[in-house]
Each structure stands twice: as structure tokens, then as C-alpha cells.
Symmetry: C2
């Protein structure tokens, strides 16, 4: 037993089942936080990524894992939640893609802030990344900074006890290759994470399409990092 | 037909079924917005207020009304959503009461921002009030100002097209009596609104307890405004 280890503090970590949030979780684990993972099911096309989130949470030995349903589908407006829109597969285009979920990270951070207040946690982790990102506005540093300002005035803990919640976005300025290398150094089980927007399932096997924006970014990240890509891709890739 | 009337713009209005959001909705209606009402069921003790929201939305002739379930109950931490905590009935106390729902208005505004983006609306209305409020941190002007800053950087519409969403909190600096008078002047059907944290139902009749913080604030508001209080109170009040 390491008697020099600091007392563990609680933290809420947003966990999607993707690569970035798994590395983010691994950083919170490395820093000895007692982790409350929060996965939000906002009507994704596949429950596969929630299964991935469960597997990664188990790997990290989290204190609790809240799986929260959020019925964003009635809003429409994103090909990730609206079945009438198709996921683009022709490579990265200009501007914000249709896979953008309106105000997604604003919603996710709001829910994380609520859970943090209930769990008496003053730290929230989110694995957003502004470098090789797909053009989502709520992955930018100015978005995180604005949410931090909001958190400073939004909660009872902040208003009454001066206990502000710190929003950690430790991957925000890393390249995808750096995220892969960092995750590999922390032992992240990348083979259990899912990035694909349109995976296929054969029995218990999950295969990534290899063609959507997210697969293209992920594949390039492993290649650039010089780390073997453990992602199972569909044969017709 | 009034040919001088401006082209109607879409707006999202958060609608709880209570008194304040009904007056807020009436203001958006007066200002000729095409209204998309959003009611969030975050695990309130009673579906009564959602019924009230439906009635008020009908009165206002809204374009659409989204009823959104949000499972905050697993988070716990509020007597409004956690059945193991009791609603305080001994009068207004010091500090933030247990009826505070963690980060509630942050979550509600996040969802409204998402719906606004999907509906191509640049206006969001929320009926928060900082004057006679119960001590909730997320009803203060600095909270609304911080959310406005966040909205300015959070969405695709803001990032790509410079279309920022304006957060309207038109009741924020009004006293409860002023809100009652304003609502009365706009024809708000107050008898269909529900403020009580612990109402009772007898058949189709809904009766307010008359003793919780919210009932006390509401009763005093009508009294101070000199407007007859149409609220049905339980006999044992």
C-alpha cells in the first residue's frame, strides 16, 4: 500500500465508448480520482458503443457508472440520431457534417455537472479534441472555457460554498496520433472501444465500416502513431 | 389581417406548467413568435405539471410542443425527484432548499438550445426569476449571462453562420406580484397552471397543498398583486 498516495477525490468522467473518452478515463484513473462514469444514450444508431463504454468502465474499475437515456431523437437534425438521414461515407468534407448532434457537448456537460454536484465531485472530465476533429463547434477550447464560466455560477455548491467544478478537457490540444500513443502508454483497451458511426454486428462480433469520417480519423491516428490498429473492420472495407 | 405584422420568427419556449413559464410563453406569443414549446419531464413527483403545460400550450396555440423525458432520478439529490427525501413545508428557510434540482436550468437551456438549432430558431425563452425566488443559483442574472456566452460558441449555427441564439429571461427582474399582473394583462389562464410541489388529485381535480415554498410564494404573489388567486387549494390548508 502506498501511504504517500493522496486521498482520492471523486470525479465525473463522460464516457462514450469511443477512443478519446477511454483515454480521458485512463488519465482520471492515473490521477487517482474515484471515478463516476456517465454514459448518455442520446438515441445513437447502435447500442454497441454503450456496450463498449461498459467494457471500458469495467477495465478502469470505476466507482459507479450511470447509463442515462436521453430522447434527443424527437428533435431530429442529426444523421447520428435521425434514421431518415444517412451517414456520410465519402470522406471528410467542408464544414460541420450531418453527424453533428445539436448542442451535444453542452447537454453532456450539463448532465455531468448535475451528477458531479450530487456526487460531491468538483472535477468533470470530457474527452473532446480540437485538433483532428470533424469540425464540431463544441469541441473547441473557447467552448470549454465558456462552459467553465457557466459552471462557476450554475450550481449550489459554487454559489453557497465556493466549490467550483473544474472542467477537464485533457485531450483538447492533442493530435489523434498523440491520443493513441498516450492511451497505449496507459494500457487503454482500444480493442474494446468503438468509433464507427455505422458498425455492423455478426453475432457477438462488431465490425467498423472503415469508411465513415470517424473510422477514417481513427485509422489514420493509429497509422500516424505507429501503433498497431486493433479495430476489427468489415471485410468489404 | 394585419399586413403590418412582421414575419413571425420561430422561438423555443421552456414550459414547465407553472405560473412563470406560462407568463413567459404569453410574452413570446404577444411578440408574435412561432412557438416551439419544450417541456422536460425530469422525474417530477407528479405528471400534473406536464398536463398543465399541455393546457397552457394549447391556450397559446403553439406550433409544436415537445415533451421530453429526462431520467434525472438515478442521480438523486433533490426532493423533487428523489422519493426518499421529503418536500419541506415549514416555510421558507435559509439557503438553497432540498427542492433544488442539480444544474436544472443548465440542463433545460442546453436542451432548448439543441431544439432551437434544429428548428432554426434564434430565440429561446426561459421564465426564471431572481427576485422572489427560492434561492436557486441558476435563476440569477449572472447565470443567464454565462449561458448566453456559452450559446454564442456552442452551436453550428453560431460557429458557421454567425447565427447566435438569444436567451430571453424576461421575468428575471420582476417581482412575483409584477409577474401575476403582467400575466393577467396577457390573459394567462393561471387556473390551469400548477406551482405546488406536493399537489393532491381527487378524480380530475388537482389541489395545491398551500404549504410548500412554491405555494407560499404563489399565494403571496396574487395577494400582493391584488389579483384574485384562482388556485384550487386542498381543504386542509
Amino acid at each position: 500500500m502506498d501511504i504517500l498516495s493522496p486521498v482520492s477525490k471523486p470525479a465525473v468522467v463522460l464516457l462514450s465508448g469511443g477512443m478519446d473518452s477511454a483515454v480521458c478515463l485512463a488519465l482520471a484513473k492515473r490521477d487517482r480520482f474515484t471515478i463516476h462514469a456517465l454514459s448518455v444514450d442520446y438515441g445513437q444508431r447502435h447500442a454497441i458503443e454503450l456496450d463498449a463504454a461498459r467494457a471500458v468502465a469495467r477495465w478502469a474499475g470505476v466507482e459507479s457508472h450511470v447509463l442515462m437515456p436521453l430522447a434527443l431523437r424527437p428533435f431530429g437534425g442529426s444523421s447520428l440520431t435521425d434514421r431518415s438521414m444517412s451517414v456520410p461515407k465519402d470522406g471528410l468534407g467542408e464544414g460541420v457534417p450531418t453527424t453533428y448532434v445539436p448542442a451535444r457537448n453542452t447537454i453532456l456537460l450539463s448532465l455531468a455537472l448535475a451528477l458531479a454536484e450530487v456526487r460531491d465531485a468538483q472535477d468533470v472530465f470530457i474527452g473532446v479534441n480540437a485538433v483532428d476533429y470533424s469540425g464540431y463547434p463544441d469541441c473547441r477550447p473557447q467552448f470549454i472555457a465558456a462552459f467553465q464560466e457557466l459552471a462557476n455560477v450554475a450550481t449550489q455548491a459554487a454559489a453557497e460554498q465556493g466549490k467550483c467544478t473544474t472542467i477537464h478537457a485533457p485531450l483538447i490540444n492533442l493530435s489523434k496520433a498523440e491520443i493513441v500513443r498516450l492511451g497505449a502508454s496507459l494500457g487503454v483497451p482500444f480493442e474494446q472501444t468503438v468509433s464507427c458511426y455505422d458498425p455492423t454486428v455478426h453475432g457477438v462480433e462488431v465490425a467498423a465500416c472503415g469508411r465513415c469520417d470517424s473510422c477514417r480519423i481513427r485509422g489514420k491516428a493509429f497509422s500516424d502513431a505507429g501503433v498497431p490498429d486493433p479495430t476489427p473492420y468489415a471485410a468489404q472495407r
